[in-house]
Structure formats: structure tokens, C-alpha cells
């Protein structure tokens, strides 16, 4: 049983799953089966799969969504104290003192994530049927998508860090496979590798944290750790928190491990929508929120989280301002919005719920905008350069309207979902530390700027289309998901009605008394709206009023150049990590060749040379042999004398 005293760290104490909850495993099993059939069957029976493979691949996540919905309604009906269930599948590891079970945990936090993943995921699956229609490897694509969904579900449903890590690695794998889906493109392959390698750095943090958990608590289970966290050494907890943060930075593209996210846009657009906007990149936030029983015990780790998040939200926003590639601009925006979520998570009990809230609304409107971008690209012959767009609102009305809904949500237009979620985070930030709050406000303003710029360059301003481009609306299979997601972007704010989401998540993250921000809450909201309006106005002036050049101008300010170069993130990585590693490798290769091989071949040469030298002693003359016998006699006599006289 859990207690809900003020600021008391909630303990994970689940009851065993029964009734409807015994279907928990099925949620993961359905997409996993889909992945198996589509991927393995792709080799065994490719022809039938080409016909109905994508349908199967879409129906299975929809099945998972239905089950998730049923379970969510079940959980709603239960009392507040009974909202944690665990289903033990089997004993995964049993070695010495370490016992790790394959356990699935279902509590309020998990329920929200399941709905997001399966719901938005299913919509994107439907969209992909149309988007990937002309790709002959479509069954494989759906196989990878299903694999991703299964891994992500395992990540959020696991009851211990090790199961979470399996899901973590699984989504990393799926991300690699999907970014590099168009294998023939060298840039796609390179981007996939880059994403994987940078993620690996973060994974080091997470795996070290798991080892630390085992050493400190003897287990990796949330139940055990949350119960014992209060008694553990403070420095150990700080280390734990920092290591978890490192893992989260890798997966969620936070500074310093952010360089892979923009390159990941090489993958097909549904991938960018599902993985790099709605779900995978939010896994880091999930990790921090789930580990709240750790972070609540260390102010140091939380402070570092806040700093990282603040830097990232500004970093991503600045990058997004100078990108002409529509997907890269949206990716910069994603980086920035995840920064907001991390900020919420780093602010402690007051912010966890709002971080998750923003995570959900971001899932809606970012997926919406990515799918909209995909629709635009579909109509513009897969061109991504916004300088070749312009005045598309007449040519693609549905896309335009749905995209506009997402746009209004992200800039925080009053009433839309993003308004509610981002505003709450800024409020909590201001309460905690005014510097952080001001940065969050600033970020909101810059967000307004670059999103407006994107909208203007794509749907307004003058036509700058290439020859032979005839923009047309996308088929229904693509526009229906757009409409659904647009509706969610508009209406998603309902989750905050009456602080519902805060109360819903209280059993997981704790409950804090409401602290008043330094300026009244309404004033904060007004200030935020003003800052955003300023950003939008700046965009109108700089982009809307002027002619947008078809070629990117070269003589621009230093700030623009820096933003185009991702704020020199890649250059930094190259200089600090890649070049020294290359030198080290070259050095090691030389060492291996000259020293290690040299020892052996040198040893062989030495022995051979010694042999040639000693061979001269065999000259065949009896008298030489007699001379050596004499020498031997001398030695024996000396030895005898030495023994006798000593």
C-alpha cells in the first residue's frame, strides 16, 4: 500500500495482476508477433506478405490499443490505492544473488504511455500504408515498425530496470533499422550509424546505473529500489541519478548527446513522426519520471537535469530557426520541446505531472506536424527544401488545416493543448528559479518565431515550386490520421481539466502542495502569450513580408551560420571524439603491426638467425668437436671443484 503524504516519495508496491489485467502480456505480444511474421516471413513467403503484410502490421498495434484502452478504463474504475498491478511472466535471470524476473508493471504512468504509443502508433501505421505504397520493401517496413512498438511497450511496462534496458536497446535497434531503411542511400546509412553510436554512449550510463543498482540494492526492481532508496547513501543516489540522466540524454537527444537527431531525419517520415517525435525520444523523460524515487533524494542530480534541459530547449530552438529542410526544422523543434519535458521532470514533484502532460500533447501535435510534412513532401515529389514550397494552402487544404492545428498547439495559442502544457511548465520553472523560468519563456518566444517561419515558407508567401511539381492532396489513408491527430492537438488540453492528470499521476510521482509563482499565475500566462506573439510578429516581418529567396543566401549573420551548423555540435563531436579516436585506432593498428606482430616475427627471425649462427659450429671436423668436449670437461671439473671446495 502506498501513502500520499505531502512530498513523501511514493513506493512502487504493486498487487498481482488479475482479471482483465492478465492480458498485459498480450499488449506486447501482438506487435512482437507481427514483427516476427513480417520479418521472418519476408524471407519465407514474400509474395503473400506483399499483399496483406501491411494490413497485418497495422491491425496488431490497433489490437494492442484496444486492450490498452480496456485496461485504462479498468484502472479508472479502481480506488486510488489499488492502481498498481504487476504481472510476473517468468524468471528471466537467476544467478547467485541476482534474481531478475520478466515482470510487467501497470500503473497510471504506464497507462498513459500505453495509450500514447499504441494510439498514435496505430495512426502512424495507417498513414504509412499510403506513404510507403510505392516502396517494394513495405512489408519489411511494417515489420520494423511493429518491432519498435513492441520494444517501446516493453520499455514502459517493465517493472525493473533490466527489462526497461531490453526495451531501451530494442528501440535503439529499431531506430537504427528504420533510419537506415533506404539502405542504398549513403547518407541514410551514415545517419543510422551515428544515431546508434551516440545512443550507445548514453546506454553506458544506463547500464552502469543498473550495475550500481544491483550493487547497492541487490536488485533492479522498482519495488525493491523505491522501498530502499530512502536508506541508501546520498552520494550513491547522486551517482545513480547522473548515470540515468546520461542514458536519458542519449535517447532523448539532449545536450551533449544531441547531434544524432537532425541526421535521423534521413529515415522515412512516418519513422520521424513515430520514433523521433512521439515516442522513442520521450523514453528519456519516462526514465527520469519513473525514477523519481531516486531523483527526489538528490538535489545535485535534479539541478544537473534542469541545467541540461534548459540548455537543450534553447539549443534546439536556435537550430530550428535556420533550417531550410522542413523535417530538420521540426527535429530541432522536437529537441527543444523535449528540453521542456526534461525541465518539468527535473523540477521535482511539482513538475513531473506537467512533464508527462507536455509529453502527451507534444506526441499529438508533433506527430501531426511530421505527418503533415510527409504529406507536403508527398505532393512535392519528396522535396524537403522549404525554399521550394510556398503557397501550398490552396493546393493541399486538408494538410494545411491539420498542420495549422499542430502549429497553433506548439506555439501555445490559448486554448490548444500545447498552451496548457507548456504554460504549466514555465510556471513551475519560474517558481523554482527565475533564471530557468526566463529561459523557458525565451524558448517559447523563439519557438513562435521558427514555427511561424516554417508555416509562412511552406503554406503562405509566393509559389517557388520546381518545374514539373504539381502539389496535390494526399489520399484518405494519409489524411484521416492527420485529422485525428489535429483533433487531439486541439482537444488534448482536456487532460488538465480540474488537475486531472496531476491527481491521476500522484500515486506514481507524489503530490506537492501548490506553491505560488513569484508573479501571479495569470500574469505568467499573459507574459508567455506576449512573448510568443512577439516571436510570431518577428517571423512575419522577417519572412512573411520579404521575398523568400530560392537559394539559401550565403552572406548571413554569424548567428545564422552557427544555427545552420547545428551550433557546431557536429564539429565539436568530430574534434573531441572522432578525430582522437581515429588517431588512437591508427596508433593501435601501427602498434599491433609493428610491436605485437613484430615480437612474433622478430622472435622467429631471431631464432632463425641464432640457428644460422650456431650452425657454423657444425663444421664436420673431429678436432673442433674434440675442442668442445675439452671445454665441457673443463666446466665439469670446475663444477666439481666448486662443489667440493665450497
Amino acid at each position: 500500500m502506498i501513502s500520499l503524504e505531502e512530498s513523501h516519495i511514493p513506493v512502487v508496491d504493486p498487487a498481482s495482476a488479475d482479471g482483465a489485467f492478465s492480458l498485459l502480456w498480450l499488449i506486447i505480444a501482438l506487435p512482437l508477433a507481427g514483427a516476427a511474421i513480417l520479418l521472418i516471413g519476408g524471407a519465407l513467403f514474400p509474395k503473400p506478405l506483399k499483399v496483406w503484410g501491411h494490413v497485418l502490421g497495422t491491425l496488431l498495434p490497433i489490437g494492442s490499443f484496444v486492450i490498452s484502452l480496456v485496461l485504462f478504463l479498468q484502472l479508472l474504475g479502481r480506488d486510488e490505492e489499488d492502481r498498481q498491478v504487476v504481472q510476473h511472466l517468468y524468471d528471466f535471470i537467476q544467478v547467485g544473488d541476482l534474481t531478475v524476473g520478466m515482470d510487467l508493471l501497470y500503473d497510471p504512468l504506464t497507462s498513459l504511455f500505453l495509450l500514447l504509443i499504441t494510439g498514435v502508433g496505430s495512426l502512424i501505421h495507417v498513414y504509412s500504408i499510403g506513404y510507403m505504397e510505392h516502396d517494394e520493401r513495405r512489408p519489411r517496413f511494417f515489420g520494423y515498425l511493429n518491432l519498435f512498438v513492441a520494444a517501446m511497450l516493453l520499455l514502459v511496462m517493465s517493472e525493473n530496470y533490466l527489462g526497461l534496458f531490453i526495451g531501451w536497446e530494442g528501440v535503439g535497434l529499431a531506430s537504427y533499422l528504420l533510419i537506415g531503411f533506404w539502405q542504398h542511400k549513403h547518407s541514410a546509412a551514415a545517419a543510422a550509424k551515428k544515431a546508434f553510436v551516440i545512443n550507445r554512449v548514453g546506454d553506458m550510463g544506463l547500464s552502469t546505473a543498473i550495475m550500481l543498482a544491483f550493487v547497492t540494492f541487490g536488485s533492479t526492481s522498482f519495488t525493491v529500489i523505491s522501498a530502499g532508496a530512502g536508506h541508501a547513501d546520498h552520494d550513491v543516489m547522486t551517482a545513480f541519478g547522473l548515470l540515468l540522466l546520461l542514458g536519458a540524454c542519449g535517447k532523448s537527444a539532449q545536450v551533449p548527446l544531441q547531434a544524432w537527431l537532425l541526421d535521423a531525419m534521413e529515415g522515412p517520415t512516418p519513422v520521424s513522426a513515430l520514433i523521433h517525435a512521439a515516442t522513442m525520444v520521450t523514453a528519456g523523460v519516462y526514465l527520469v519520471v519513473r525514477s523519481n524515487f531516486i531523483f527526489e533524494l538528490t538535489d545535485t542530480a535534479r539541478t544537473v537535469v534542469v541545467i541540461v534541459a534548459t540548455v537543450t530547449l534553447l539549443w534546439g530552438a536556435v537550430i530550428g530557426c535556420a533550417k531550410d529542410d522542413i523535417k530538420k526544422a521540426l527535429a530541432g523543434s522536437t529537441m527543444s520541446q523535449i528540453g521542456y519535458m526534461m525541465l518539468g521532470a527535473g523540477l521535482g514533484v511539482a513538475g513531473y505531472a506537467f512533464a508527462i502532460f507536455h509529453l502527451l500533447t507534444h506526441g499529438f501535435f508533433k506527430a501531426n506536424m511530421f505527418l503533415g510534412a510527409g504529406s507536403v513532401m508527398h505532393g512535392m515529389n519528396d522535396d524537403v527544401d522549404m525554399r521550394h514550397y510556398g503557397a501550398l494552402r490552396k493546393a493541399m487544404p486538408v494538410t494545411f488545416l491539420t498542420f495549422a492545428m499542430g502549429y497553433l498547439a506548439i506555439i501555445g495559442f490559448p486554448g490548444f493543448s500545447g498552451f496548457w502544457s507548456k504554460d504549466k511548465i514555465i510556471e513551475v520553472a519560474l517558481t523554482e528559479n527565475w533564471v530557468v523560468g526566463v529561459c523557458a519563456l525565451l524558448g517559447a518566444g523563439v519557438t513562435g518565431f521558427y514555427m511561424t517561419r516554417l508555416m509562412l515558407m511552406t503554406f503562405f508567401t509566393s509559389e517557388r515550386w520546381e518545374k514539373d511539381v504539381h502539389p496535390h492532396e494526399s489520399p484518405k489513408v494519409m489524411t484521416v490520421p492527420l485529422v485525428v491527430l489535429a483533433a487531439l492537438s486541439v482537444l488534448g488540453g482536456v487532460l488538465l481539466a480540474g488537475d486531472w492528470i496531476v491527481d491521476w499521476l500522484a500515486p506514481v510521482v507524489g503530490h506537492e502542495a501548490h506553491h505560488e509563482p513569484p508573479i501571479p499565475a495569470l500574469a505568467v500566462t499573459g507574459l508567455a502569450v506576449l512573448v510568443v506573439a512577439a516571436g510570431v510578429a518577428t517571423a512575419f516581418l522577417l519572412v512573411g513580408k520579404r521575398e523568400v529567396p530560392r537559394e539559401a543566401p550565403q552572406d548571413v549573420s554569424f548567428a545564422t551560420k552557427a544555427a545552420r551548423a547545428d551550433l557546431y555540435g557536429d564539429a565539436f563531436n568530430d574534434g573531441v571524439v572522432v578525430e582522437p579516436s581515429k588517431r588512437l585506432t591508427a596508433g593501435l593498428v601501427t602498434f599491433d603491426r609493428s610491436v605485437v606482430d613484430g615480437v612474433f616475427s622478430g622472435g622467429a627471425t631471431l631464432v632463425a638467425g641464432l640457428g644460422i649462427l650456431l650452425r657454423r659450429g657444425q663444421n664436420g671436423f673431429v678436432r673442433s668437436y674434440a675442442a668442445s668436449i675439452l671445454a665441457g670437461v673443463l666446466l665439469v671439473v670446475l663444477a666439481l671443484l666448486a662443489v667440493n671446495l665450497a
Binding site: 650452425r615 657454423r616 657444425q618 663444421n619 664436420g620 671436423f621 673431429v622 678436432r623 674434440a626 675442442a627 675439452l630 670437461v633
Partner: protein, 97 residues
């Protein structure tokens, strides 16, 4: 008594050097006999030293065996000489690298 043993040592050494230096097979053999004689001297000296005749018996046996050895050795040298027409030890040098 020590002087006898010293003399024996000196004769032995001279015999050994002779084996190394001389090239005629027969002369080499004679140096080997010199070494054997030196050993005999030592044996007889110690017989007197210890006061029993075992040393002399040993010297006697050495002489007998030396005789047998000389017989066979010279026969070999003669056979080699018949085939190769040379009595130099340096000519039998096929066991080389």
C-alpha cells in the same frame, strides 16, 4: 703423493691438447694412449695412498682394455687409409651442416 697426481694431471692435459692439435690419425691415437697412461699413474698412486691393491687392479684392467682398443682402432685406421689413401683426421668431415 700429490706430486704424482700433479704429474698425471699434466700428462693428461698434454694428451688432450695433442688430440686437438695433431692431424695424423695415428698420432692422435697415441695422444689418447698418453691420456690413458696418465690415468693409470693416478690410479697406482692412490693405491699406494690408501694401502690396498684395488688401484693397481684397476690400472691393470685399464691396460687390458687399452690394448683391445688399440687393436680395433688401428684396424679401423688402416681400413680408412686403404679406401681414402689418407691418414688425416680432417678428411673425414662429411657430418657438417
Amino acid at each position: 703423493m700429490t706430486e704424482y697426481v700433479v704429474l698425471s694431471a699434466i700428462l693428461f692435459t698434454i694428451g688432450a691438447v695433442g688430440v686437438l692439435v695433431r692431424r695424423n690419425a695415428i698420432v692422435v691415437f697415441m695422444c689418447v694412449e698418453l691420456m690413458l697412461n696418465a690415468c693409470n699413474l693416478a690410479l697406482v698412486t692412490f693405491a699406494k695412498q690408501h694401502g690396498n691393491l684395488d688401484g693397481q687392479v684397476a690400472a691393470f684392467f685399464v691396460m687390458v682394455v687399452a690394448a683391445a682398443e688399440v687393436v680395433v682402432g688401428l684396424a679401423i685406421i688402416m681400413t680408412i687409409f686403404r679406401t681414402r689413401r689418407s691418414a688425416s683426421v680432417d678428411d673425414a668431415s662429411l657430418l657438417k651442416y
